[in-house]
Amino acid sequence: MTATAGIPATTATAGSVVRWEQVAVRYADADRPALSGLDLAVPSGELCLVVGSTGSGKSTLLRTVNGAVPHTTGGTLHGRVLTAGRDTRDHGPRELADVVGVVPQQPADAFVTDRVEAEIAYGMECLGVPPDVMRRRVEEVLDLLGLVDLRDRALGTLSAGQQQRVALAAAFVTHPQVLVLDEPTSALDPPAAEDVLSAVQRLVHDLGTTVLVAEHRLERVVSFADTVLRVPGDGGPPVAGPAAAVLRGTALVPPVVALGRLLGWDRLPVTVRDARRCAAADPRLAGLTAAGRPDGAADHGAIAVACRGVVVRYGGFEAVRGVDLELAAGTVTALMGRNGAGKTTLLDCLAGLRRPDAGSVTVDGRDPSRVSRREAADLVAFVPADPGDVLLADRVDRELAAADRLAGAVPGTASAVLDDLAGGIARSAHPRDLSSGQRLALALATCLPRRPRLLLLDEPTRGLDYPAKAAAAAMLRGLAAAGHTVLLVTHDVELASVVADDVVVLADGEIVSRGPARQVLTDSPAFAPQVAKVLPGTGLLSVDDVRKALALRSGDGHVAGGGAR
């Protein structure tokens, strides 16, 4: 391979920065191509949103842009990809580093230095940018992305949102023609996600950078996108176009699109603003109000979990300051709040991993930190953000058998639970090879045979696409209906809107708002789900709510019992 880095190719097609020509990708041991029939171009200066279900080949597509597929990942690339006029067959990632900036999914794993400033400068050092230019650009990008105050900080001490912005700065500072972002907001709370996305938007608008971004939570990004590129994942060719056209007829849609579809609007809305206009024009929505929703724990059974005046200190720092919390049996509560608000510490207390410095925690009348680990596991089950953390075996069936053994349950119990939660999981599969949604189901199935009173879930829907998220929500509702108390920590307001009875918002270790989901989620704009923004003042939170309210009004008998979601 001859090195031609730095010499711009002259074959660039006017107007398009990335061009895929009949591209198909197949990995060595796969039975079907990861990507096929890709024949598109991304025009210069656009923000292109890449959508597709988990495992559809989104990441593969993004990686073809800088030649990481096939140069780094292996596999075979058919057809050709032209990035800034350079053929990726002849140019690997390092030869394309000056035209493509990449922000990987977990930026923390990809950092190669220890300080913010050094990390930002690193790419330019590799490219041989002259020192005075480097200096100037670092200052510019620090201002552009609001990182000035963080310049000397160690990368490990930053929050997830700050790390994401540093990664963005590091990718952007080399002034690439294309920026590739793989799920930039998946680990972020809503305000941090907004920060990152508005930074991205600034790069597109003010500086004309072309941006390719893959994202599951379309509601966060779709309003910024010029083009949507959909990877169908079933072997069909990916398509691109305006959001409304591309998203028509797929299951991967944000709530506003689902709402438009439910109401049969001709022009599918993509943004909350569009939808609000359509809604104002739709006579069916006039005077519609929420109907038949249980309003919080008051209607429910006995209090199963109680925290009273819980205080937790780390050294001189109070992570949790006098939290009172009661959870009724058979309810789902969403615990929200920004990163570092004390959510994890509170979960630790509820799980009995930490004894509060003051106050008490009782689950079913017992303090989980004062009973043996085994008894505590019978009281409280915990599913961490990466469900793989609690899985031990190398096959699904062994995992389930181990769960039965640990619980002292009849062999087959866990397996039956898993079938209830999610059917069709091969028992011979390795847990690591399951999809995120299936792994979540498996992790739940391994703790349910103990019949825990309280289920704790940390970010259960991270990395799930809309159908998988709907399945997970149904799973959680089902568990609550079976009498479990469910407490989930989540940044995802859309999930909270469909699954939670109550919402508790934590800030600085204190509860700043709590109450029925309907009330809390409509109170503040940062936490309002899309439907609530489209139909403010109605108390409607999700598309499902709207469907039920409409049905109730039209007097259909078939929604009787709609109260029990």
């Binding site: 730095g6 990632p93 580093a97 990809a110 050092e125 590799c126």
Partner: protein
């Protein structure tokens, strides 16, 4: 702490910030301090060196985001001394006359003759142990000081270009290690919550495997991130030149080792062998240097905001070198190694005091301004300006 030494000088407030030297200067200074410590078992001198090093760290560590590492090294150093003393008391049969107390003696089987467990503990033995352990402890403390004053990541930036890949691998490993510790804690916690055993060999294995899996995933992500950021980008470099640089980088150290073996291999060697050895070492250094140069020449990389090397760096390194030279050549044996077995009290002499004083130089308050006598001073409320040294250029970056 520094307020009582010299009043602040007529310098803009910026320079009163803790000053940071070039990382190479800090490491050389710390090396010098370590060599002073390594030279002696004099407890008083060791304590003085430790205090000097501690003072420099306290006054000169980077203001923001400094690693809390020095405290850890301090604890480690104290542990080393404690272990050394306990081992001496328990295992090594104490000689010496002044018995402080006795530990019950455990009779050992005949085949372990020569080792004794317990018995009388003498002051002489304890003193010897403190001297020995203290030496190692202070050397450790010096490493800790270098680590705190200039993180290894900062130091690695100044490796020759040809060794950049090595430097990068080291710095990635340094950042990955804490991340793995976090992963270990996280997975351990999740398993405990499931009511799974986390102790014992079996428990540890079930945690270590996923942690290693995560490490592997992380390594792949890092590798791909490096690629995509243009790491190792080269201009024109022929395949032949690449092969040549690789060969030179490999054979250089081999030649040096072979030469060193000839030189140091035995006490009495013929002059011809010595000459040959010296020649080999020289050739090895030359070839290695050539390899480094070749390997670096193809890279296009530049360096972002290199730390300046100016007068303060020279002063710090020179002070350290002078201290090391004093300790190496000017310390009489009674100062360097007071005989513990005769309970000789540790004494100091001017050379030892001067060596310690030289080590403290980088902590002098006016040091950033190139030595206070040159910059100005206050006397009875009057402010006297002399002249500003060559190194007054403000250091705006830690």
């Amino acid at each position: 702490m520094n307020r009582d030494v010299t009043p602040p000088l007529t310098v803009p407030p910026m320079t009163l910030h803790p000053m940071t030297l070039h990382p190479v200067a800090w490491w050389l200074w710390a090396l010098a301090a370590a060599s002073v410590a390594a030279r002696t078992t004099n407890v008083v001198l060791l304590v003085l060196v430790a205090v000097a090093v501690g003072r420099v760290v306290a006054l000169r560590r980077p203001a923001s985001g400094a690693p809390a590492g020095f405290g850890m090294f301090l604890r480690l150093a104290l542990t080393v001394v404690a272990i050394r003393v306990v081992l001496q008391a328990l295992f090594v049969g104490s000689t010496g006359a002044t018995v402080m107390f006795s530990v019950p003696q455990v009779p050992l089987p005949a085949w372990m003759a020569g080792v004794s467990l317990g018995g009388p503990v003498t002051a002489e033995a304890a003193l010897a142990a403190v001297g020995d352990g203290g030496r190692l402890a202070v050397v450790l403390l010096c490493v800790g000081a270098a680590n705190t004053l200039a993180t290894p990541a900062r130091l690695l930036r100044y490796l020759p270009r040809g060794l950049q890949a090595f430097g990068l691998a080291t710095s990635v490993a340094l950042t990955a290690a804490p991340a793995l510790a976090v992963a270990f804690t996280r997975i351990r916690k999740a398993r405990r919550l499931r009511g799974l055993p986390v102790g014992g060999v079996r428990g540890a294995v079930t945690i270590v495997v996923p942690v290693l899996e995560e490490a592997l995933d992380r390594a792949l992500v890092t590798a791909s991130a490096l690629e995509s950021r243009g790491f190792g980008r080269r201009g024109e470099m022929s395949r032949g030149a690449r092969a040549l640089s690789g060969a030179a980088l490999l054979s250089g150290p081999v030649l040096v080792v072979a030469g060193a073996y000839l030189l140091l291999g035995s006490r009495s060697v013929p002059a011809a062998v010595v000459a040959g050895g010296a020649g080999l070492v020289a050739a090895g250094l030359g070839v290695g240097g050539l390899g480094l140069r070749l390997a670096g020449s193809g890279l296009v990389s530049t360096r972002y905001r290199p730390d300046p090397w100016g007068a303060p760096e020279w002063v710090a390194v020179a002070a350290g070198a002078a201290a090391a030279a004093l300790a190496g050549f000017a310390l009489p044996a009674r100062v360097a190694h007071p005989d513990p077995w005769s309970l000789q009290p540790p004494v100091l002499d001017p050379a030892a005091v001067l060596a310690v004083a030289l080590l403290v130089v980088p902590s002098l308050p006016a040091f950033p301004n190139w030595g206070f006598p040159f910059a100005g001073f206050r006397f009875r409320g009057f402010r006297f300006k002399t002249f500003r040294g060559p190194a007054v250029a403000l250091r705006d970056r830690p």
